[in-house]
Amino acid sequence: MMHLQSFRALRLFFILALPALIGCGPKVKLVDIIPATQSGETGSDSEPNIAVDPAHPHRIVISAFTPCPPMISTTEAPIYFSTNGGDTWHLNCIVPGNNAIYGTGDITLRFAGSSGVLYAGILRGDRFLQLNILRTADFTSATPMTVLVQRDLEDQPYTQPHAHSGTDRVYIGNNNIADCNIPNPIFHCTGTTGQSSSVDPSLDAATAAPPAGFSTQVLEDRATCGQDLPPVRPAIHRSGVVYLAYLRNDPGSGCFIGTNTADVVVLRDDNWGAGGYKALTDPGDGKFGVRVATGLVMSWLGDLGLERVGAQLSIAVDPKDSQKVYVAWGDGANPNNFTLHVRRSTDGGKTWSASDLKTVSTATNPALAINDDGRVGFLYQQLVNPGTCKRSGGGTSCWETHFERLKGSKWKDLPHPLANVADNAGGFPLGDYVHLMAVEDKFYGVFSANNYPDTANFYPNVKYQRQVDWSTHQLFSDAAHTMVVSHSVDPFFFTVED
């Protein structure tokens, strides 16, 4: 037995440590971002998002479903931030609309560029489906973010900006629930067209008074079953080429009853949106936006493990080539076999690879990014049952969080999952999305995972700021390690560079 353990340790050394020591492996940083002074928290800090300041990449902000400690605020929800490249993290409550259990609702945040202004699209935690578009010039200050736009009946605001000629160009994809028009009597839809996929762009958002140039543009050009699925994802190239991907809900879809039948649609505009995102026309139906894949059956909020799945989508454009664009989505009528797909276009979205570049079964939360070297990064979370993660409590399933890079025509996974953790930390442990981005040649990402502290569950050299005893697999609320707290879900920040 000892021999076997020694062999395993040696093998792990050769797989993980040796490549890094001789400089040929990827450099990976992995940090649980819960600050030391928040060590007592046991919330489900899921559905994280990340913003890295492209002008100063050591400035990083992360969001998650975390309530603000009442000693700071009962009215503003928190962000986490780091000003040293992600080594240490702070919590600052500046997002309007705190909820005592979850903090904010849906939230995505980004920096544009040299302005240093942080933007966010959120659903407030103290209202029901109310969208706010926010900004702050100083995310470390105690001053709440400024509300630029406030609108009812919206879903999944997804923020993506880009700096251009001294301006911050900000695009917030959103699903306009107010426009739903579903004849099924269980729904109360008072809209007219059901063409709900929309974007709120602003061509100069940094300093102008609210609404700072934001106004809504409807993207959907086709008939729907009454409402599109929630994700609307922008991707922006510095040349002014803007892509938007969304999931059109087909007229024959179950339309939020059990399953949806959807098309992956990609729109493009070549001048920062001035052309109305009409650069691509589908050769099949002549409508704006190319249908990358059609008739995809998607379980609607069925459970994959303890996580709900239904509508997953990501898009990324190559910084070196505005015509090279990748899209990833999830589908599957059976939530237990929800499957991710990645496809590519090399002609600006006109045509797409007929088959998947990558297929991952029993997985969710796809996130794509492309670095300045043109290398594609792909982050996702896969349920494995029975899994190999260490655990306390019951169950056999594990969520493995993988980060793969496309090298030539081959995907290369890290030698160890970023996280491989038990799926027994309560419902909704991951959230409806994660995020990955690249600044220069480095990838930055965030995901949520069970924080059960066992080094075998994480990429080597994982760092916790919260009070932990790795040998006993315990978490504590105090530095003296006298007050044990239960395991829960935390956001994990990571970087990968070759």
């Binding site: 000003t83 029901f128 008072t190 709900r308």
Partner: protein, 269 residues
């Protein structure tokens, strides 16, 4: 309620006159305002002036490092703060000096390896910590009463009763991952504390969804006994305008709160 001691009243009055720091946003106008805004109150000893414990807070004559001697009030604060140093951004630059022990009335700002807090009024000598604790506790009770009274004021009906059944369907849903998954609870009214009820049973809609949008809204089950603060059009969602709901945690109170709620209903008239 005990009268506010003179020294605290004077401290706060002085704060009203002197509080002009940009981070304070609004100058507190009276002791109640100060206590309401002070979400973190502690007794501490100033270690260093013009210093901080956090790299993201720039040292200035408005920042001091303070050793926490005793936490008086601070929900969500680390349990082992006593003896540790934190950063205090002063309401009035230079208002304290190294070695001085004081009662700090602050609100939290940053939590990291250490903490930073912002004074809502200039601190003064600590005095009797038990006295400070009693004053803060009294203020917290009053604040909780105010919040409940505000909720009662916006409620159309306040009843004590028992859930006799829960059913699904018939209420308008939204096609979103945040669908409320409405259910209806039939509540037999045992006493009416506010408003008018036409029948002995009222129907209350509640979201069964545990999605973050609805996760903090109370869920009801058969046999549950409580006091309900019932609102109409509380969710402000189309199609739900006429439904009675109790969507906030404050809207469901345990029955041992009956006398308190009766008092608040009466005083709110």
């Amino acid at each position: 309620m005990r009268p506010i001691p003179l020294w605290i009243f004077l401290t706060f009055s002085l704060a009203c006159l002197l509080c002009a720091d940009g981070n304070s946003k609004q100058a507190p106008s009276n002791p109640d305002d100060i206590l309401n805004r002070a979400t973190f109150v502690f007794i501490g000893t100033v270690s260093k002036g013009n210093a901080t414990t956090m790299p993201d807070v720039k040292a200035s004559d408005s920042t001091v490092v303070v050793r926490v001697d005793e936490v008086i009030d601070g929900s969500g604060a680390p349990p082992d703060l006593a003896g540790k140093e934190i950063t205090v951004q002063l309401a009035q630059p230079g208002s304290v000096r190294a070695g001085q022990k004081a009662a700090f009335f602050t609100r939290g700002w940053l939590m990291g390896e250490s903490m930073a807090v912002i004074e809502v009024a200039p601190s003064r000598e600590a005095g009797n910590s038990q006295q400070v604790r009693e004053i803060v506790q009294a203020a917290r009770h009053k604040s909780a009463d105010d919040a409940l009274q505000n909720e009662i004021a916006t409620a159309e009906i306040v009843v004590a009763g028992r859930v006799t059944g829960v059913s699904s369907g018939g209420l308008p849903e939204f096609p979103s991952e945040h669908t409320p998954q409405w259910k209806k609870a039939a509540i037999v009214v045992e006493s009416i504390l506010k408003g008018h009820v036409a029948a002995r049973t009222v129907t209350v809609a509640f979201p069964a969804s545990v999605d973050p949008v609805w996760g903090s809204s109370p869920k009801f089950k058969e046999g549950q006994q409580a006091i309900w603060l019932l609102h109409r059009n509380q969710a402000q969602l189309p199609g739900m305008e006429n439904q009675l709901t109790a969507l906030k945690p404050l809207d469901v109170q345990s029955r041992d709160q009956l006398e308190r709620i009766q008092r608040l209903v009466k005083s709110g008239r």
